[in-house]
Amino acid sequence: MRHSQKWTASLSTAALVLIPTAIGINYLGKLFAGLLKLPLWLDSIGTILASMLAGPFIGAISGILNNVMFGITVDPISFVYAITSGVIGLVVGIMAYQGWLANVRRALIIGLVVGVTAALVSTPLNIIFWGGQTGNIWGDALFAYGLSIGLPLWFASFLDSIIVDVPDKVATVLISYFIFTGLPNQLKGLYARHNDIQEL
């Protein structure tokens, strides 16, 4: 019962309309990070906010569709990482449900978990599609070094992902957390799961 209620709540019109907005915010984050020459991508703020507001399901869809749409309109490589984006939304949404948004320190943990999970999911993709690289200079240099000292391919590739993903995801989750705590309750309540009509 509680479960099914959660499910329908997460598919409400309000939650569905949140998805394109989340994707737009992702895009904007990326643009501003570029404009301000920040050494991070910050391109998943929208996905993470959607997960915090409307739960793992909406978060995951936002992540997946973000990459699908980016793939058909800007850069097809982005299709490959649709799964990673989806998992990011899923992890943040589940952790948010379980109370990990209580304070900054806990939010930092979400960031670390998201970073490591993203790296874990991306590693097999990187190995299948590009033999283990990520296309990021620093990460790939580490990957090459790892291979040259005889580390197994998967491990070297995981290191490559993790040094790229963890700092970015920790920063992204923290930024999203600060924005989320500043949102008015009226907005947060819109996607709340158990609110019934009270009698007057």
Binding site: L36, D75, P76
Partner: protein, 255 residues
Amino acid sequence: MHKLSLFVDQSSLIYKIDPISKMMYAMIAFLTPYILPHITAAIAITALSFSLLLIGRVFRHIVPILGVSLLLILSIVIVQGLFYPDNATPLFQVMGLTFYQEGSEHALLLTLRVLNMLAACGVLILTTPPDVIINSLMRLGMSPRVGYVLLSVLNIIPHMRATMARITEAQKARGVELEGNLKTRLKSFFFLMGPVILSSLNQTRERALALELRGFNAHAPRTFASASGAYPLYKISRVCVVILLLLVVSWRLYL
């Protein structure tokens, strides 16, 4: 308003193929070098994808897309050539670094896969506007709610880009700095993003209200205001796509 799309507005043979056939081609072509892990297959399908781009007269528009992945390809060639775990046979030396045959062959296969993936997608996305792709999928039975989300993204991103330009101007006038040390710039990031996020989330709520009253959740089978596009090559292109699929599968079985 600047459109979010890689579509090249012109006309050629490929434009006469329906979006679903092109999408099926992109998928089959994308998967082929993984189903058939033989370099000949990768070369054949990559050549086919690029020929289609040539026939479609969009070849030069794939170049910038390839350019984005240049770094990735370079990294593949260098790292695999030097450090591929199965490396045994030295091929040549550059500046004291030994490139190996095994790694270079592997890099060639990987590079072909990347090029093929980009070209196969290019066949679809350079010759089909994104909203046409989404509408075709909706006609095929994709949920209109999903269709709504995808179509909205096409509109919201150019809108966000316009908003960004406006905000940057306004905040600059208020003294938000776009340069300086990391801390200053991070702070500016909040000042720039915060207001847009808040206003776009508020708009989300009101838009949801409006949609509810415009039958967004109606159960009636959906109808379409636009006529479905005319694609003279519809039948023949489907047949070709199916033949390609059969070819790939039978090659695989034969192996």
